[in-house]
């Protein structure tokens, strides 16, 4: 006999979901694997472990991690301000957060480079202090922070909004200090969302190309990101080599997102137990 769940339409919606994801996500990604498979395992290994490529992974993952960490801290702060306080111009600030989503990344890259170049508005003020941002790894981090900010804010903000102020009041009335309230009450509640936001910002930063190429200077071994090496291989009509590097980036991003999901799952289990 057929079992019925409480919610109707499971078969239909799951079917649509799988087809949709299959066509939109899985199909393009599997062609990626197919194309790179044309290389054969030993050549694949040679391509993805060449010294120049290894240097670019280090830079890409390092810069993406740094940017995602900074975004996690300041994104939480921004989300907190937007969720907890009422002030004139709130709607404007709220809309501002989404701007990095909407702006073409090349525009962001050019604008940031203009600001941070040695003759730029900010760059010229940092230069006497011995700090150069544009055309250094630091510039890459700046661009990735810009790109990743909305991911953290937009995942944390709704959770904070749902967290009743009464909970904090209750904590206070039970004798918790402010830091204790944050650490024991607020943070555990937003931590899963923060982790998701961090992971999204990180994954996005790994693949970012448009904004970074303008500010990085693209010097081999120093400021060459992995997506740029993909482009240089395409420029040589080396499709297989390009997809090989892409596959490595993809697998890294995927394992990271998977890891975050597993962490979340454990977190939920612990909370329920």
């Amino acid at each position: 006999m057929k079992r019925h769940t409480v919610l109707p339409g499971f078969g239909l919606t799951l079917g649509v979901t799988l087809t949709y994801l299959g066509v939109l996500v899985l199909l393009p990604l599997s062609t990626l694997f197919l194309k790179s498979a044309g290389l054969g395992p030993s050549r694949f290994w040679d391509v993805v472990t060449a010294p120049r490529v290894l240097a670019s992974y280090k830079l890409t993952f390092g810069a993406a991690l740094a940017a995602a960490l900074i975004n996690a801290v300041f994104g939480l702060l921004v989300a907190w301000v937007l969720a907890r306080y009422r002030f004139p111009g709130l709607a404007l600030v709220d809309a501002l957060v989404d701007l990095p989503f909407a702006l073409p990344t090349a525009v962001a890259g050019i604008a940031l480079t203009t600001l941070y170049a040695p003759n730029g508005w900010i760059g010229s003020r940092l230069a006497p202090l011995g700090i150069t941002v544009a055309f250094t790894p630091l510039g890459i981090v700046v661009a990735l922070i810009f790109i990743g900010l909305p991911f953290v804010v937009r995942t944390v903000q709704p959770v904070l909004q749902d967290l009743e102020a009464e909970v904090e009041e209750a904590a206070a009335s039970l004798g918790a200090g402010r830091w204790q309230t944050f650490r024991r009450v607020i943070f555990p509640a937003v931590a899963p969302a923060l982790l998701t936001g961090f992971a999204l910002a990180f994954a996005r930063a790994i693949g970012e190309y448009g904004s970074v190429v303008f500010i990085s200077g693209n010097m081999p071994f120093r400021t060459e990101i992995a997506p740029l090496l993909i482009m240089t291989r395409l420029e040589q009509y080396d499709y297989a080599g390009a997809t090989a590097i892409a596959v490595v980036l993809l697998l890294a991003s995927f394992s990271l997102l998977l890891l975050v999901n597993v962490l979340q799952w454990f977190g939920r289990r612990r909370a329920l137990a």
Partner: protein
């Protein structure tokens, strides 16, 4: 139930669409009606082809009575070639280097391998050279290629791995060294290595390098195409920059070709060929010269002699044995360009990927 009233307009729209598509297919064959061409080109030719398309439309209307509209697509030369290989329906390609069209022939088979012999002058109706753009007054006294290798000089040029235009810059320096007294590959490698050690920023494309040099104020000299340098001086004011012509430089030949298979499918072969032939006429050459490309036709070249100073040049074919060979030796993985950046001059293992 879906209301019929809501669906009817959709059906009408769809019918119109089918009719319109039918009309378009019809129009391609009927000489009395409109025809559309797609010219897939590279970045700095945008203004040139906007002017040229208008001129050609007038000429073609008079000659055949047919109205022709030419759509343009611009981008990095290699990127454009890949788009055509992947199925962008270009009737005509006008790119920055022959290698990109070679790849369209080789990888997609859209035109014969000997396409470059079909039109005069290596299928390059206009040319350019590689020159230096320096800051006004030439404060660092840059006169020729060896000056770019002097310690402390900042040289701006794009990455030849991502920019087709930048490959001309690289080969220009290499060829210069070969042509000096006692010049050989060792000397050429030394000069080019010293020049690239002076490059603080390798932008992905030529326009990016121009921005770095002009807007960001980085570097003492920009290596670039003469047409781009002339445009930069004109747009940004001759009071800020000046052009230095090296003693010997490369003859940049941006080639043009009809993409046979696509033109055949569209039924646009005749008009596409006429489009390219017209580039070689006095009128076409005049437009190229106005947009700072060196004309091939002697009469037009004489008229614009002041704009294009005489300079000793060499071609890729005579110095490097053609683009394929140049690409293999210099820009493929592990080639001479990669070797400049290998720590300890070691070759990397990823040459195997080709």
């Amino acid at each position: 139930m879906i209301r019929l009233g809501a669906v009817l307009p959709l059906i009408r729209l769809a019918t119109l669409g089918v009719l319109a598509a039918g009309c378009r297919a019809e129009a391609q064959r009927d000489p009395g009606r409109a025809v559309t061409l797609l010219n897939v080109s590279y970045d700095p030719t945008r203004e040139l082809y906007t002017a040229y398309n208008a001129a050609f439309a007038g000429y073609w209307k008079q000659k055949s009575g047919q109205t022709v509209t030419v759509s343009q697509s611009h981008g990095g030369s290699g990127k454009q070639a890949r788009a055509v290989i992947d199925g962008l329906d270009a009737d005509i390609v006008t790119l920055a280097l022959a290698y990109d069209i070679d790849m369209i022939a080789e990888q997609a088979g859209l035109l014969p391998a000997d396409w470059q012999k079909r039109l005069p002058d290596n299928s390059a109706p206009y040319t350019s050279t590689i020159v230096f753009l320096v800051r006004k007054g030439n404060p660092r006294k840059i006169a020729d290629w060896p000056d770019l290798a002097r310690p402390g000089i900042g040289v701006i040029t794009p990455n030849p791995k991502t920019s087709g235009g930048a490959r001309w810059n690289y080969l220009a320096a290499w060829g210069y060294a070969l042509r000096q007294q006692g010049g050989n590959a060792v000397a050429a490698r030394a000069l080019v290595t010293a020049i690239y050690r002076n490059v603080p920023v390798l932008d992905a494309g030529a326009r990016g390098s121009t921005t770095t040099f002009v807007e960001r104020g980085i570097g003492d000299v920009l290596i670039g195409w003469e047409n781009e340098a002339l445009l930069a001086v004109k747009e940004l004011g001759p009071d800020k920059f000046e052009i230095v012509m090296p003693s010997t430089t490369i003859l940049a030949e941006p080639p043009v070709a009809v993409v046979d298979r696509v033109a055949k499918k569209h039924g646009t072969g005749d008009v596409a060929r006429a489009y390219l032939d017209y580039l070689y006429t006095e009128a076409g050459q005049e437009i190229a010269a106005k947009h700072f490309y060196r004309p091939r036709l002697a009469s037009v070249a004489a008229k614009y002699a002041a704009q294009f100073p005489k300079v000793s040049t060499f071609t890729v074919d005579e110095t490097f044995g053609g683009w394929r060979k140049a690409q293999e030796t210099h820009f493929a993985d592990g080639g001479t360009f990669d070797q400049i950046y290998q720590p300890g001059g070691r070759l990397d293992g990823d040459r195997a990927s080709r």
